[in-house]
């Protein structure tokens, strides 16, 4: 991609998840020049790592496929992966953006034939399985990866594996000499669709995520349920690979908690309700899911889904914030707490505990331009000069539907910015 194609008529979208892809596509399909940058080697973001969506129980990759097709067919949209925004200067309608491009060590020649991965032996925890599996150091992130090109992890450089990968490639696609580079772009408007990250579960000490193997997060549970995931879609306990048939879902793991995240992450209740249906899907009537909650926030039509789950005999609800978790000798977990509806004390054993982990803005980890306004949790409201916008889960904790809605709206606002500049220029 040549930086030169960017002008102050160009819209920059930061983040290639569902929100960013949507903002970029909608703007490009309105005839705008768009550059979409993603810091990972593939588009798709976190939704690509989900098994199903609530409330339809349909598959995220289904929408991703359509979006990728839209993207492949659109000549106005340029994608830069492994690219991070390091600086934004200038003003509304006329920004200069610095991008750091990290080396992929694989060029456009790659046909995704997979020979390099076969050749190398080095492995690393698979970030696309939240570390629940291992992946080769030469890898294709996942089956829906776009661009459909392999990646060499920096760790491989200088090792024998690097050479193995290089010689295994028949198409001159591997370029070990690739270096990090910085490029500058002129853009008229910026959409921050940097999305979210799961809150660090280890910080929620009473739940022992860092001490007990069978306490996992909701995003990890998605990987377990996914047929493309580490267990091929089987719900097995990390500690001993035994089937997890009696599962506890703990709501507000980090959310609504001034010791952690002040805000409610909105999606966790629905995510857990959805996940109880994974358990049923896997084991039929021979399973038990228990949701420990403060308030079930199944807003608007989602109430229908909540009711459906309530009617499922394998699913139970306890109105309680679990006080603490203890582990017994077989690796099972005892949840201690009190059901506040009528004050009933419990100490209940479960095979597996899934923490409905809160959404933290991914942007909390990156340096935003000074002009950007964020709320008390770090979600992006936009820039004071009105030329930059937050979209999707970067702007507030949202589900996919709202994220797409917000991204579509942000796209229009960005278009207005570049229109105004254009207008000024002709005048």
């Amino acid at each position: 991609m040549k930086a030169s194609i960017a002008t102050n008529q160009t819209i920059l979208v930061v983040g290639g998840g569902i929100g960013g892809m949507t903002a970029a596509l909608e703007a490009a399909e309105c005839g705008k020049q768009v550059i979409l940058v993603e810091k990972n080697p593939t588009l798709g973001g976190r939704t690509a790592l989900l098994y199903r969506y609530f409330p339809k129980m349909c598959h995220p990759t289904c929408g991703l496929e359509i979006n990728l097709r839209r993207l492949k067919g659109n000549r106005r949209l340029r994608v830069l992966t492994q690219a991070e925004v390091t600086e934004v200067s200038g003003r509304n309608g006329d920004y200069t953006v610095k991008l750091k491009l990290s080396p992929r060590y694989v060029n456009e020649n790659c046909t995704a034939c997979g020979e390099c991965a076969l050749a190398v032996s080095g492995q690393m925890p698979n970030p696309y399985d939240y570390g629940l599996s291992q992946i080769k150091l030469a890898y294709l992130p996942h089956a829906m990866a776009y661009p459909q090109r392999y990646v060499l992890d920096p760790a491989i450089i200088g090792t024998a594996d690097a050479e193995k990968a290089n010689s295994a490639c028949k198409y001159g696609a591997i370029d070990l000499a690739m270096k990090e580079e910085t490029i500058e772009l002129k853009v008229g408007s910026v959409i921050w669709a940097t999305g979210w990250k799961p809150y660090d579960a280890a910080k929620i000490q009473p739940y022992g995520y860092d001490r007990f193997a069978n306490v996992i997060t909701s995003v990890e549970f998605e990987r377990l349920a996914d047929p493309h995931g580490p267990t091929g879609g089987k719900l097995l306990r990390p500690s001993d690979g035994a089937p997890a048939k009696n599962i506890a879902f703990i709501q507000c793991a980090g959310s609504r908690d001034e010791n952690h995240l002040r805000h409610c992450s909105r999606i966790c209740c629905m995510a857990s309700l959805k996940q109880t249906q994974y358990v049923r899907e896997a084991y039929g009537d021979d399973c038990k899911s228990t949701i420990y909650y403060i308030d079930i926030r199944a807003i608007d039509r989602f109430e229908d889904f909540y009711r459906k789950v309530q009617q499922d005999p394998t699913v139970g609800f306890v109105k309680s914030k679990v006080a603490r978790i203890a582990q017994n000798e077989n690796g099972s977990l005892i949840l201690h707490g009190v059901d506040t509806e009528g004050y009933h004390r419990y100490a209940t054993e479960h095979d597996l505990v899934v923490l409905a982990i809160g959404m933290e803005p991914e942007a909390n980890g990156i340096k935003l331009p000074d002009d950007i306004v964020v709320d008390s949790s770090g979600f992006i409201e936009g820039s004071k000069d009105g030329g930059q916008f937050g979209a999707g889960a970067a702007a507030s904790p949202t589900d996919v539907n709202r994220s797409v809605q917000s991204a579509t709206a942000a796209a229009l606002r960005a278009i207005q910015v570049v229109h105004k500049t254009a207008a000024v220029e002709v005048a």
Binding site: Q205, P206, G208, R211, R324, A326
Partner: protein, 299 residues
């Protein structure tokens, strides 16, 4: 001129011939080795302890703590107050925090102090001895003077409540603090890291009024130490020490258990590891003798 000087707040239980006098003994020996000078806050008073709430009320409790601060500020200017007792540290630290963030309370308190011609300037810091060891020295420094590593002795690090919550030691978690384990390691002993009653409440505050309830707590604490193969329990808190040690015989009597688990202070371990005698380390003050430590001390 000693390496470090502090305004010392021993607290009631650490006085001569009081329930934690052996704590005091071992702290003195430990400080000697570390070249720490502890100067008692002249005429210090009781912190009121958490149990003092019922009769004491809010302001009187804060005021008597402020009295100690004022005395320290006047007589030992520039020195941090260091408490060895968990309750004293908590009572003082809590009072100080509330005073520092509430100007009204501050005004009222000084009004009360004025009755004894005292004034609190909010300059002094209140710390626990463990904080001093970890923050002002650090594990490496603490390791240096070790003469007699506590080789082969398995310790369950029992942190309890009040040195751990709500303030705790910086960087440690409330549910799984690791500093006692690290100290034991530093001294060449074997920490029982999987010990799962680390932060269980011993019921100390209610030991007298609700003996059965608190003795159940103690039973869990000791039992789990045995289950995890510990030979001794080590703790930073005199109330924990007293309760967990003293009531074992009671529990044995009532419930037919055969508990005989020594319960020591980190300072006793340090004193021994630093080459202190059984007496220096206050081992003679144990109701349940720590035989293996005594052996090491005698070496």
């Amino acid at each position: 001129m000693a390496k470090k000087e502090y305004a010392f707040y021993p607290g009631c239980s650490s006085q001569l011939k009081a329930s934690a006098s052996n704590y005091l003994t071992s702290v003195n020996s430990m400080c000697k080795t570390l070249d720490v000078k502890l100067t008692e806050i002249p005429d210090w008073n009781c912190c009121g302890a958490s149990i003092g709430y019922a009769e004491g009320g809010e302001l009187p409790r804060i005021a008597i703590n402020a009295r100690n601060f004022a005395l320290a500020e006047t007589h030992l200017p520039g020195q941090d107050i260091v408490a060895t007792c968990a309750a004293c540290w908590l009572g003082a630290r809590e009072s100080k925090d509330r005073l520092d963030e509430n100007s009204v309370l501050m005004k009222e308190t000084n009004e009360a102090l004025a009755a004894a011609g005292l004034h609190y300037k909010a300059e002094v810091k209140v710390r626990h001895m463990v904080e001093v060891l970890i923050e002002d020295f650090g594990y490496d420094e603490l390791k240096k003077p070790v003469k007699k590593p506590l080789e082969g002795v398995k310790f369950a690090g029992y942190v309890g409540c009040q040195t751990n919550r709500p303030f705790g030691i910086a960087g440690e978690s409330f549910e799984n603090p690791k500093y006692l384990d690290k100290m034991v390691e530093t001294l060449g002993g074997e920490p029982v890291e999987s010990y799962d009653q680390k932060v269980t409440c011993c019921g100390g505050a209610l030991a007298f009024s609700e003996p059965d309830k608190s003795q159940k707590q103690i039973r869990d604490i000791v039992e789990s130490a045995y289950d995890h193969g510990a030979e001794m329990i080590v703790t930073p808190c005199p109330l924990c020490q007293a309760n967990v040690e003293v009531y074992q015989s009671e529990i044995n009597k009532k419930q037919g258990t055969k508990f005989n688990m020594p319960v020591l202070y980190y300072s006793q371990l340090m004193s021994v590891a630093y080459g202190g005698s059984m007496k220096d380390a206050g081992l003679d003050g144990q109701l349940i003798r720590a035989t293996r430590l005594e052996e090491i001390a005698k070496k």
